[in-house]
């Protein structure tokens, strides 16, 4: 999978590239509009991360270029601006998602996975990871051909862990992901423990070998070989 990161802040693009590398994504970085336009003309990507405020112009022109060339790359805008106008403009121009800085890398990774899944016309909607079979369309989970009955939050949590497998996800990121659009209004992470406990219990009952572990009260990690 190839990902183009169009972002002028090197420190940030480097972080993103490093984090995503663990998922077997190949990341390329373009620090300005010109480079970005050159790249998208020559190469094909599975997903493009686009910062709108670039040193040599508005990132939206990259979106326009993609549209003009009938390219089907999935685009996620990562921007410091988050007014509704900005969002609508970006999404109208064909962006798939809009993520406001600051964001959690795990959240970005989950969004990328979702965009790629949606963009994949052919192929199945299933994800097979570590003995779990997730159907992202039907939002169901199977362990050894047996459907596990999960609540909406539990399924979201599992999918989040799966897309960020082999990496530690902070409890802050999980809390924000589960409580919707950046709603982290409470600084109480007890509800994550409760969801996690139930999820693990249900998966264990279905005969799954537990691969989710807590990391020193910092977060969780799903280890999949």
């Amino acid at each position: 999978m190839k990902i183009l990161i169009i972002e002028d802040e090197q420190a940030l693009s480097k972080s993103i590239a490093t984090y995503l590398a663990a998922e077997n994504y190949t990341c390329e970085v373009a620090a300005d509009c010109k480079t970005a336009l050159d790249r998208i003309e020559t190469f094909e990507y599975d997903c493009i991360l686009l910062d709108i405020s670039l040193p040599d112009g508005n990132g939206l022109q990259v979106l326009q270029a993609l549209k003009r060339d009938n390219k089907t790359e999935g685009v996620i805008i990562i921007s410091a601006r988050d007014s509704i106008d900005d969002r609508i403009k970006g999404l109208q121009l064909g962006a798939d998602d809009y993520l406001t800085k600051p964001f959690h890398l795990s959240e970005l990774s989950a969004r990328i996975a979702a965009v790629i899944r949606r963009r994949r016309f052919s192929g199945s909607n299933t994800l097979e990871v570590g003995g779990l079979l997730l159907d992202t369309q039907a939002r169901t989970v199977k362990v050894k051909d047996q459907t596990v009955d999960l609540t909406r939050k539990e399924y979201d949590l599992l999918l989040y862990l799966v897309t960020n497998r082999n990496r530690v996800i902070s409890k802050h990121a999980i809390a924000e992901h589960l409580s919707g659009d950046g709603e982290g209004l409470f600084d109480n992470y007890d509800f994550i423990y409760a969801h996690m406990k139930n999820l693990k219990k249900k998966l264990l009952q279905a005969g799954w070998e537990d691969q989710i572990k807590a990391v020193y009260g910092m977060g969780y990690k799903m280890d999949v070989p």
Partner: protein, 409 residues
């Protein structure tokens, strides 16, 4: 007291004093003149009479009611002029010697006619002066009103002026130099404060936006740090604390941007929002937190309230109030949400003393020991209330902290 009345008051006082002094003075002066006049006539009569009395044997024909002549024992004293006891006559008494006999000649002249004249003159004068005074007051008033009109216009405009409005303060031109100068000065002052307000607002906005990229970098690096191996528990604790701090910064940043956005009027779209529906939806979202704190939630929906507002802002308003009620509550405490007569009331148990109502809705006035509370929530609530002319108040009725938002009257 109005400036107008103040000046008129002095005019009035002066006029009354003048009237009170002038009328008696005038009266006395007039009386003096009359008496002097009468005296002159009496003396003239006397000088005319004396030579004729000297030669006449029978003096009767010359005498009448006003002139009497009688013998007097006393030798010739000086002439005397005086007013009779009742003040109705002026008398001239003169002694003269006719044929070695001393006579006392008395000539009197009635003052009654003159008195009537003086009275009429005085009445006329008082009347005139009063009319003059009244006229003066009236003219002065209307003139002052006319003259001060630009001043009141300026005052009215100034009162309606808000520093956060987009268009600059425009005052009408005045032909009076003083007012023109005042208007110019006021306009300049307003423009200066508007500019500094805009600059401050832009600064807050830009600073908040500029902060986001470094925050994103910080947060990203922290997440990468979490992935490093080997990771000791000590390191993990440090990273968690940093992550919490960065989370707080992110939330603070979001709050600040929301505040500036409300102040910039960047939520112009409105639609009819059901308060009940929105509140129920939010309460459902927070159910987990409510259960976690073992709170009892009491709800009274006596009506459904529909307001014409921006749904995002209404959600922020309600969510801030409800989240506060949950966050600052005690374990096992109570929350009462009530919607009745056009107002929403959120009550919650919490610390056992009232919050400082004066500072409550100000930026960063933290009123609880909760380090995570960012102190922007209630200011945002207040700003949204101001925007839609909702009226918010706080009261502490033991053991409840109550926030009351009147949305419709």
């Amino acid at each position: 007291m109005k400036l107008l009345n103040k000046t008129v008051q002095y005019y009035f006082l002066l006029s009354v004093v003048l009237l009170l002094v002038a009328v008696p003075v005038f009266y006395f002066v007039l009386q003096r003149i009359v008496i002097a006049n009468v005296d002159a006539r009496l003396i003239a009569t006397k000088t005319q009479l004396i030579p004729r009395l000297q030669v006449m044997e029978n003096k009767q024909p010359l005498l009448d009611n006003d002139i009497t002549l009688e013998k007097s024992g006393k030798p010739g004293a000086k002439d005397s002029l005086y007013t009779s006891d009742k003040g109705t006559y002026r008398l001239l008494t003169s002694y003269l010697v006719i044929n070695q006999e001393t006579y006392r000649l008395q000539i009197k002249s009635s003052l009654a006619n003159h008195k009537a004249l003086i009275t009429s003159i005085i009445i006329l004068q008082v009347l005139l002066l009063s009319l003059l005074l009244a006229g003066l007051l009236l003219i002065n008033r209307s003139l002052a009103r006319q003259v001060w009109k630009p001043f009141y216009n300026t005052l009215r405009k100034l009162r309606a002026y808000k520093v956060d409005q987009v268009e600059p303060l425009q005052l009408p031109h005045s032909k009076v130099n003083e007012f023109e100068e005042l208007n110019t000065a006021v306009e300049q002052l307003a423009e200066r404060s508007r500019k500094s307000y805009v600059a401050q607002k832009e600064f807050a906005e830009n600073a908040s936006h500029e902060m986001r990229t470094p925050l994103a970098i910080f947060q990203g690096k922290l997440e990468l740090l979490m992935q490093t191996t080997p990771l000791t528990e000590e390191q993990a604790t440090l990273i968690t604390d940093m992550a919490s701090a960065s989370q707080r910064m992110a939330r603070l940043n979001k709050g600040l941007i929301l505040l500036t956005r409300i102040q910039n009027g960047q939520f112009p779209e409105t639609e009819e929002v059901s308060i009940k529906k929105m509140a129920l939806h939010l309460l459902d979202q927070y159910l987990q937190q409510i259960q976690q704190k073992e709170l009892t939630l009491e709800q009274h929906w006596e009506e459904d309230l529909h307001v014409e507002a921006n749904p995002t802002l209404v959600e922020v308003l309600l969510s801030n109030l409800l989240v506060n009620a949950i966050r600052h509550n005690l374990k096992g405490g109570q929350i009462i949400v009530k919607l009745a007569t056009g107002a929403l009331t959120v009550q919650n148990t919490g610390q056992l003393y009232a919050l400082n109502a004066n500072r409550l809705f100000q930026r960063f006035s933290k009123s609880s020991a909760d380090a995570e509370s960012m102190g922007l929530g209630l200011e945002i609530v207040k700003k949204i209330c101001d925007l839609y002319q909702f009226e918010i108040s706080y009261a502490y009725e033991h053991p409840f902290h109550a926030f009351h938002v009147i949305m419709k009257r």
